[in-house]
C-alpha cells in the first residue's frame, strides 16, 4: 500500500512539469527580438556616445509602442566600444557570440568598423552604423553586411573644400587626429581640393596623438607655416585642448574649419576653447539631419524624454535603430541574411532625412549643415547653423 501511494506521488510529481507547461502558453513571456547597440560610452567620445544611446532608447520605446517587430517586443543589448577599435571588436564579438544578436546598431567609430566589420559578416550579422564615416570602409569586402546612416567623410570633405574655394584660401594647414577618421578626412579634403582645381598649397599636415593631450609644439608648426586656414579634425576632449592652446599661441587670427567631431556643447566646457571657437572657426560641417516632420517629431520626443536637445548623430542612431527594426520586420525572420536582403531594399523617411542605401551600403544622398559657434547675451556658447549644402 505504502509503495502504491509513493508511486502515485512520484507520478504526480513527474507529471507536474508537463502540466505546468501545458497551462502556460497564454501567459508565457514572448522572447524579445534583440538588437545589439555598440556605441562608445567611455573614452574620448564617451560624452557623445551617451547622448547617442538615448537616441537608440527613444527609437526602441517608439517601436515597442507601435507593437514591436514580428509581433514581439524589441530589446536593446548595449555594449560600450570605449572609443577603441580593439575593445570595440571585443564587444562586437560578445554581442554576436554571447548574446546572439543578428543586427547591431553601430559601431560608432570608423576604427571599430574596420576592426569588427569582417567578423560581423563571417557570422552573418548586419551592422548599421550611425556615425562611422571613413571613406576606406567602402573599399572593404564585407560591405554587403555593413550599412551607413551617416554621410561619408568623402562627402563631408567636398563640403569643406567648397568653403576653402569660396573664401579664396591659398595656404591650408591641417591638424587632425592620427586615426582612420582624422587622416581619412585630411586626405579626402586635399584630394577634393585638387580635383576642384584649387591653386593653393597644403602647407603643413599635423597628425596628432589624442592621448598626448598637449599640442603646443604641433600648433606652433601651424603658426610657423603661415597658413591662412586650418582644418581641425578632432574629437571633443582632445579638441578642447587643441583650441585652448591655439588661443594661447595666437592662432585665432586665421580662419579655422571644424567638422562633426568638434560640434556640440562638449567643446564649450573650457571657457578658452569656447572663446577660440567663437572667434576663429569660420565654418564647420556635419550631417544636417532631416528637415521635416520626421525630424521635428524626433527632436520634440527626444527633448521631452531626456530634458536636453539631441546633438550630433543622435538622429542617425535613432534612424539606424528604426532601420534595424524595419529590416527585421520586412525579413519576416530573425536571421542575418534575410535581414541584410531586406535592409538593401529599405527606403523610409528618417529623422536625418530620406534613407536608402547604394550598392556599397552607404547612404545614397544627404544634406550637410555648415555651423559656427556663437556667444549669446548671457555669455552662453552654442552651435548655430549658417547654411545647408546638398551633395
Amino acid at each position: 500500500m505504502r509503495r502504491k501511494i509513493l508511486l502515485v506521488v512520484m507520478a504526480v510529481l513527474l507529471l507536474l512539469p508537463a502540466l505546468a507547461c501545458s497551462s502556460e502558453p497564454e501567459e508565457a513571456q514572448v522572447e524579445p527580438v534583440k538588437i545589439g547597440v555598440l556605441l562608445c560610452l567611455t573614452g574620448d567620445l564617451g560624452p557623445m556616445g551617451l547622448k547617442m544611446m538615448q537616441g537608440a532608447e527613444l527609437a526602441v520605446t517608439e517601436i515597442n509602442d507601435a507593437g514591436g517587430v514580428l509581433g514581439r517586443p524589441v530589446e536593446l543589448v548595449k555594449e560600450d566600444g570605449a572609443t577603441d577599435p580593439a575593445k570595440g571588436l571585443d564587444r562586437a564579438k560578445k554581442l554576436i557570440n554571447v548574446n546572439g544578436v543578428k543586427v547591431i546598431v553601430g559601431p560608432m567609430i570608423s576604427g571599430t568598423a574596420l576592426s569588427a566589420g569582417g567578423f560581423a559578416k563571417e557570422n552573418d550579422v548586419v551592422m548599421v552604423t550611425p556615425s562611422a564615416t571613413a571613406g576606406d570602409i567602402s573599399k572593404q569586402d564585407w560591405t554587403d553586411y555593413f550599412f551607413r546612416i551617416c554621410l561619408l567623410d568623402d562627402l563631408q570633405s567636398e563640403v569643406l573644400s567648397q568653403v576653402v574655394l569660396e573664401n579664396g584660401y591659398t595656404r591650408m594647414a591641417t591638424m587632425v587626429l592620427n586615426n582612420t577618421y582624422g587622416v581619412g578626412l585630411e586626405n579626402s579634403l586635399v584630394k577634393a581640393l585638387k580635383e576642384a582645381g584649387w591653386q593653393g598649397e597644403h602647407v603643413v599636415g599635423v597628425r596628432y596623438e589624442e592621448a598626448k593631450k598637449d599640442y603646443l609644439s604641433e600648433l606652433q608648426q601651424i603658426k610657423d607655416s603661415k597658413a591662412d586656414v586650418v582644418f581641425a579634425c578632432t574629437y571633443a576632449d582632445d579638441g578642447i585642448i587643441v583650441f585652448k592652446q591655439a588661443l594661447d599661441i595666437g592662432l585665432d587670427d586665421i580662419a579655422w574649419l571644424g567638422c562633426d567631431g568638434n560640434h556640440g556643447a562638449g567643446l564649450f566646457k573650457d571657457p578658452k576653447s569656447a572663446e577660440f571657437m567663437a572667434k576663429a572657426i569660420v565654418a564647420g560641417t556635419r550631417t544636417a539631419g532631416g528637415v521635416g516632420a520626421a525630424n521635428d517629431k524626433f527632436v520634440t520626443n527626444y527633448t521631452a524624454k531626456f530634458g536636453e536637445e539631441p546633438e550630433v548623430y543622435c538622429d542617425t542612431v535613432y534612424d539606424a535603430t528604426w532601420a534595424a527594426a524595419k529590416a527585421i520586420e520586412a525579413a519576416g525572420v530573425y536571421e542575418g541574411k534575410a535581414i541584410r536582403d531586406a535592409m538593401e531594399q529599405l527606403s523610409f523617411e528618417g529623422a536625418s532625412g530620406p534613407i536608402s542605401f547604394d550598392e556599397k551600403g552607404d547612404r545614397a544622398s544627404g544634406t550637410f549643415e555648415l555651423w559656427k559657434v556663437e556667444k549669446d547675451a548671457q555669455g552662453k556658447y552654442s552651435n548655430v547653423r549658417i547654411g545647408l549644402v546638398n551633395i
Binding site: V204, I240, K244, G250, K269
Partner: protein
C-alpha cells in the same frame, strides 16, 4: 618653412618645467627610500584635482589652490609613507615589494579620485592673458610656471647646499648608516622629503591640469617622461634632474618639428624620450649625475 626656434625653445622650457617639478620628489624619495614610488603619478593627479576643486569649483583663485594642494597632497604622501611603505620596509620588504605596493596605492588613489570626481575630463575655469614679446607668445600661466620652477629650483639648491636640513638630506641619501651614526635623524629627513616631493608633484599637476585637462589619469599621462628625467638626471641627483628635464622637454618639442616635417604622426615624440632613457641606461647608467658628483 620658417621655424620659430625661440618659441620651440620656450615650449621646451615649459614642458621641461612641469617634468622637473614632477620629478624632484620621485627622484629624491627613490634615493632615500630605495624604491621607485609609482603612486607618485597619483600625487600629481591628486594635486591637479585639489587645485581644480579649490580654484574652479570653490572659486577661491589659484594661489590658495597651490597652497592647499601642496599641503594636502604632501600630507597624503606622508600618510602613505608612514602607514604603508615604512611598515613594509621595517618588515623586510624588498624593492620589488615596495614598488608593487606603490602601484597598489596608486590604483587606490586613482580610482578613489575617479569615484569622487568622475572620469569625464574637467577643465580649469581660469583664463590667462597672453603676452607677445617679439616672435614669442607666452601666457600668464606659463610665466607663472617658469617663475615657480625657478623659485623652487633656487630654493632647493640653496636649501640642499646651505641649510642643515639640506646637508642632512644629502648625507642621508649618499650613506644612510653613516648619516645616522653622525647623529642625523634619517627618519625625519625621509618624512620631510616625502612631504615636499609630493607637494611639488601637486604643483606640477595643477600646471599640467590647467594647460590641458584634469582627469584621474592626469599624472599617469606624464609619469613616463618624468621617469625619463629621473633616470637621465641620475637617481636622487637634483642638479642632474634640472638638466635632464630640459633635455627631455627639448627632445619632445624638436621631435614634433622633425616628425611633422617627415610627414609622420607626432605620437612618436614620446618614443624619443624613451630612446634617451635606453641609451642612458646602456651607456651611462648613472645618468647625468657624473657631472654633478659633489651634489
Amino acid at each position: 618653412m620658417d621655424i620659430n626656434w625661440a618659441q620651440i625653445l620656450l615650449n621646451s622650457v615649459i614642458t621641461g618645467s612641469i617634468y622637473l617639478i614632477g620629478a624632484i620628489g620621485l627622484s629624491v624619495t627613490y634615493r632615500l627610500s630605495n624604491f621607485s614610488n609609482f603612486a607618485h603619478a597619483e600625487f600629481i593627479t591628486l594635486g591637479a584635482f585639489i587645485g581644480y576643486w579649490v580654484s574652479s569649483q570653490l572659486g577661491w583663485g589659484l594661489l590658495p589652490a597651490f597652497i592647499i594642494a601642496f599641503l594636502l597632497t604632501g600630507t597624503v604622501s606622508l600618510l602613505c609613507y608612514r602607514g604603508i611603505f615604512q611598515p613594509l620596509a621595517k618588515r623586510g620588504a624588498s624593492t620589488i615589494h615596495l614598488m608593487i605596493a606603490s602601484i597598489a596605492v596608486g590604483f587606490i588613489i586613482r580610482y578613489s579620485i575617479g569615484a569622487g570626481w568622475g572620469w569625464t575630463p574637467q577643465y580649469f575655469l581660469n583664463t590667462w592673458t597672453t603676452y607677445e614679446v617679439g616672435a614669442i607668445r607666452i601666457t600668464g600661466l606659463w610665466l607663472l610656471l617658469i617663475l615657480v620652477t625657478l623659485t623652487s629650483a633656487l630654493t632647493m639648491h640653496f636649501a640642499l647646499m646651505r641649510t642643515k636640513l639640506g646637508k642632512a638630506i644629502r648625507a642621508s641619501s649618499s650613506n644612510p648608516e653613516l648619516a645616522a651614526a653622525s647623529g642625523i635623524n634619517v627618519n625625519r629627513v625621509i618624512l620631510i622629503t616625502w612631504f615636499i616631493g609630493a607637494g611639488l608633484a601637486a604643483i606640477a599637476g595643477i600646471f599640467r591640469g590647467a594647460s590641458t585637462q584634469v582627469w584621474p589619469m592626469t599624472g599617469w599621462d606624464i609619469i613616463l617622461p618624468i621617469f625619463a628625467v629621473v633616470v637621465l638626471g641620475g637617481i636622487g641627483n637634483y642638479h642632474g634632474a634640472i638638466v635632464a628635464a630640459f633635455i627631455i622637454g627639448l627632445t619632445e618639442n624638436i621631435g614634433v618639428v622633425a616628425l611633422t616635417n617627415l610627414g609622420l604622426a607626432t605620437e612618436y615624440r614620446m618614443a624619443l624620450a624613451f630612446l634617451i632613457i635606453i641609451i642612458t641606461l646602456i651607456v651611462k647608467p648613472q645618468g647625468l649625475a657624473m657631472f654633478f658628483r659633489r651634489a
